[in-house]
């Protein structure tokens, strides 16, 4: 029985180690983007190449000091608490909303006008279906963070 227990325990340990090894290899990507606008209630980013996530682009702008933001990683992705020093007022039902001109890309929808539209200089941005960590940067598309209410 001892040998069998050892065998099963080793099997599960091997699978767990294998899983950890592979998942740790899944790192982030670089994102090349231009910051078009940055204020207390509005951040507009345009992707220059198709690479990385909106979070990667924001991290790059944070490094260069062009924007500031606070938040935390959660199992649902990165949760933004403040951008450029502004924390949404919960008593007014405010939150940081993500909009993008990126609709469907490679057969996957990334935004839906059904949940809201934000017009930026004639470009119609729809409410994003993912947070900043799940939204891919695709060349030429706009990504907007703005204060919204529910």
């Amino acid at each position: 029985m001892k040998h069998t227990v050892r065998f099963v325990a080793l099997f599960v340990a091997a699978i767990t180690a294998f899983a950890g090894l592979i998942l740790s290899a899944c790192g982030g990507n670089d994102a090349d983007a231009t910051l078009l606008e940055s204020s207390e209630t509005l951040v507009v980013i345009q992707a220059n190449t198709t690479s990385g996530s909106m979070q990667d682009a924001m991290a790059k702008f944070k490094e260069t000091g062009e924007i500031t933001y606070e938040g935390s990683e959660s199992e649902y992705g990165f949760y933004l608490t403040s951008v450029n020093g502004y924390t949404p007022d919960a008593s007014k039902n405010e939150f940081w909303a993500v909009y993008t001109t990126l609709g469907e890309y490679e057969g996957i929808p990334y935004s839906s006008a059904e949940y809201g539209i934000y017009d930026y200089k004639g470009a119609s941005c729809a409410s994003a279906s993912y947070g900043i960590s799940g939204l891919p940067m695709v060349e030429g598309y706009l990504y907007i963070l703005t204060i919204s209410t529910y």
Binding site: M1, T4, V5, F7, V8, A9, F11, V12, A14, I15, T16, F18, A19, I22, L23, C26, S53, E75, Y76, G77, Y105, E106, G107, I108, P109, Y110, S112, E114, Y115, S129, Y130, S133, G134, L135, P136
Partner: protein, 228 residues
């Protein structure tokens, strides 16, 4: 149902809530499965379902009242109690667990190859996770066969371990149906919810398998000392 049974059930509910609360700070680790499994297996369906229902409702005092979670817990843990509570009297045919594990492995391999329509940023990770789930199911299947062949007396342990792993996966899949329906998610949001719940499911499945495999006999032994 006499007073002693009710008292034992009440203590078990308190224990389950304490264990769940304590381990809620450690991601992916849970012992509710092995504790409730052993309890249902020892005391049967009626006590198991009483504990499952009380646990599902009373834990809201600590974790908050979320209708989707309450409904999920009430459905899942009562079915769980029904399954493991009846296992002692009605032994499963030896082919049931291998088939369930083979189904799990096959389904995981299918989705790992075919993929699911989710953000491209998540696709590689989710494929890898499906392959890992395939590996876990295959490892459990192989372990089941080894246990059955080498130690015929271990059929009980092999069965409950395999079923615990299968049930843990079902818990997440049930959550992926109930929560988006109750919270009114669209298709994209439901897929994003599936992705995030999948991240938590893998360590929980491993934890459930290992904890049931190692603790089933000791806990069952302790519980069987209680005379009702």
């Amino acid at each position: 149902m006499n007073a002693k049974k009710i008292a034992v059930c009440a203590v078990m509910v308190a224990l389950l809530i304490a264990v769940q609360f304590t381990l809620s700070f450690v991601s992916g680790v849970e012992l509710v499965t092995v504790l409730l499994l052993c309890f249902c297996y020892t005391f049967g369906v009626a006590c198991g379902m009483l504990v499952a229902t009380a646990f599902s409702l009373i834990r809201c005092l600590l974790f908050g009242f979320m209708p989707n979670v309450v409904l999920l817990y009430l459905i899942y843990y009562n079915l769980f109690a029904l399954l493991f509570g009846s296992l002692r009297k009605h032994k499963l045919p030896v082919w049931v667990c291998p088939i369930l594990l083979a189904l799990l492995a096959g389904g995981s391999a299918y989705f790992a190859i075919a993929g699911i329509p989710i953000s491209i940023l998540y696709q590689n990770k989710i494929r890898i996770m499906f392959w890992i789930l395939f590996g876990i199911a295959a490892a459990l299947l192989l372990s089941y066969i080894v246990l059955i062949v080498c130690h015929k007396k271990s059929k009980e342990l092999a069965s409950v371990t395999a079923l615990a792993a299968f049930c843990t996966v079902l818990f997440t899949l049930l959550d992926d149906v109930i929560s988006p329906l109750i919270l009114g998610y669209g298709m994209e949001a439901a897929l994003a919810y599936f992705y995030t719940s999948f991240l938590a499911m893998l360590p929980q499945t491993i934890c459930a398998s290992v904890s049931v495999f190692l603790l089933f006999h000791p806990i069952k032994h302790v519980l069987s000392k209680i005379r009702l």
